[in-house]
Point group: C2
Chain length 398, copies 2
């Protein structure tokens, strides 16, 4: 049977990374390929206790249909956090609860994109955002980056030549590159966006996972015209398996996103929203963030020490100040897919960087996750990677 | 600030019904407007116990990222149920877990629809399906119905004149009409769809809520070519606040839907899938279904008795054999929005039927829900509605 599908289905393929991840699922493989938070940090016992208390206290209300906008006490908690720690100034009307921040990317794509519209994003960028935008017909323009964020030179000319419907950026501890924008870069970038009135989608899934005292803020701080849509998530600071996240934006945009959410998934699970809120209302959230950051900082240090000692000359890697990922640029001639196979034969896996490029995939790049395994294992994995790179160099006669 | 939004946003408005529902939220209003299952039937205590046991047994796994396809043991449970009770013949590759069946409508719209494509549906039909399809640019053609389902006369000519990308139907205890297709109608309809190779989206959210011994089956039973996509849900038989549902379809379609789900919401909440499965694995599901059906049957009987006694001549109402809704056709001259206001002044609410029509909204129709209040209250509400209709007739001088 030949099905007559939508045109978009020609451009959407099973994620190459997902196929690779299947190879890394064998028990003998140490995988630094995925993006899993450390499960030992999930508040498993506390969530069990709160589940019972919640169902006792709220009864069937916790299991019934509820408003699309989301559970008000949870929105109140998020408002306080954003206004005190993210440099934002939001009210309840600026907040919509999401079923994971991926679903925010889907709703935003529906809000802005007609078939063929242009979206700008960093190169590399979060690949599942590219997929969400592609579903609504996005074409991409890439913005080059250095270690301080997006490169501003020539950006205004490019804006005139290829005006975007919106720009998508991850300013803090980016997945996949681990990069963080400098405050100066943020401000100057937002001046340009404000002048041209271009909506900016800021994906802040990693914002709280900061290894140094937080000197950053949301781009919304530099947004006099209400152009910034800012996504946040509990997946990295609580757990991903409850699928609770949020988007904050100008009230007019939130109203439209609510309409789109009604037709997309009606609402985020009532029980999950209430459970997350009940847990947050009863803990010292800053202490929890500190625990997560301390754990991941130690792991980042472990991999960086190994890379610094063992990475061959000609290899460049980022020094993330937060988040879960390090990005590596290999010598131009090297193919990270070949390296992947070699590394896998030594029972270690990473993700080749190709899929993270919105245009012109670079085959000599890779992403290495450091959140999901203990430091000693990470050291071993990092050393195997460095050795594999050396073997590839030798095989290439370099 | 004037935002440059997608064209689809011109056609998407806040649901009229949602606005009406806000009016019905005052505590003195008895509302038969919504579509809420009876909360006293939710297994609140059992789910509390299973939450604790699940987190103890599965630990952090229940809170981690998981496969887009869904939790395998839950898919196994659904497979068994569909194959033994729904007249289907599915395997795991035919099943994808959804974050509520609304999200299945969204994924199916993305799978099939280009801007301007035609979708056929019953008139009236589930309004949030219309919204989901509109987001992807659907145009609608309505199929007229009688008490045995869709009217087949002239359908083939219409197929040639306005070929649909897919047809959307609710064959059992339809929301909003309460109608159920006869077996003969199902079979003849599917013969036509098979001849023209037209995909059929069957929304079976109410399938298990059957008041008579179940003599029905999924349209998939009459589907030699793999054209039927069948949606099912735990919202009506367990609770809606966990947002767990499924779609079954040909493996080739499921593979595509998985790709779309990756970019839409990554996955349905791990915890929720495992909780639903753990609960189902430990109860007598048929006994639970019997409890729900016994409760709703009694409520349907209550409203039907009142309507039969008190509805003025010229009013037609359906006799649902399952589900949660009764549909009423008022005399042609009557405006259900005006009737709504009159009824509301007597502290009783329903939903005008206009929004449920894909084309040519009929203002002389309404939907009355009977699942959410006890029989005595339902009787009172039904009587108030009948009296209000009489008052409207008198006001119109009839």
């Amino acid at each position: 049977m030949e099905y007559n599908l939508a045109r978009r289905m020609q451009f959407l393929k099973a994620s190459e990374v997902r196929e690779l991840l299947k190879l890394t699922e064998r028990p003998e493989i140490l995988s630094f390929a995925g993006g899993l938070p450390a499960p030992e940090l999930f508040p498993t016992q506390e969530l069990a206790e709160h589940s019972v208390a919640l169902l006792k206290e709220m009864g069937a209300k916790a299991l019934q249909y509820a408003a699309t906008e989301g559970y008000t006490p949870l929105r109140v908690w998020i408002r306080e956090r954003l206004n005190t720690r993210w440099g934002m100034n939001v009210d309840l009307d600026n907040l919509l609860i999401l079923s994971g921040s991926q679903s925010g990317l889907d709703l935003i794509a529906k809000l802005f994109l007609n078939d063929g519209d242009t979206v700008w994003c960093e190169s590399p960028t979060y690949m599942a955002a590219l997929s969400a935008f592609r579903v609504c017909g996005a074409q991409f323009q890439a913005m080059d980056c250095d270690d301080d964020g997006v490169l501003l030179e020539g950006l205004e000319d490019k804006l005139r030549a290829h005006p975007p419907k919106f720009v998508y950026v991850i300013t803090n501890f980016q997945n996949p590159s681990g990069r963080t924008w400098s405050m100066e870069r943020r401000q100057t970038f937002m001046e340009l966006m404000t002048r041209y009135e271009i909506p900016v989608v800021e994906d802040n899934a990693y914002y709280e996972v900061a290894f140094d005292p937080l000197e950053y803020c949301s781009l919304a701080r530099f947004d006099p015209k209400g152009l910034v849509l800012s996504l946040g998530s509990f997946s990295k600071v609580l757990c991903p398996g409850l699928r609770v996240a949020w988007v904050s934006a100008h009230e007019d945009l939130i109203n439209r996103l609510v309409i789109l959410k009604q037709s997309t998934d009606l609402q985020t699970a009532t029980f999950n929203q209430m459970l997350v809120h009940r847990y947050l209302a009863n803990i010292d959230f800053d202490a929890r963030i500190k625990l997560i950051c301390d754990t991941y900082r130690e792991r980042r240090d472990a991999v960086l020490q190994e890379f610094e000692q063992h990475a061959p000359a000609g290899v460049h890697f980022t020094h993330p100040r937060g988040g879960m990922f390090i990005w590596m640029d290999l010598p131009e001639y090297m193919d990270s897919h070949q390296l992947f196979n070699r590394c896998l034969s030594h029972c270690v896996a990473f993700v080749p960087g190709t899929s993270f490029h919105p245009v012109d995939p670079k085959r000599n790049t890779l992403r290495f996750n450091f959140s999901n395994l203990p430091p000693a294992t990470i050291r071993h994995g990092a050393r195997v990677l460095c050795n594999s790179i050396r073997e590839e160099m030798e095989a290439a006669g370099r």
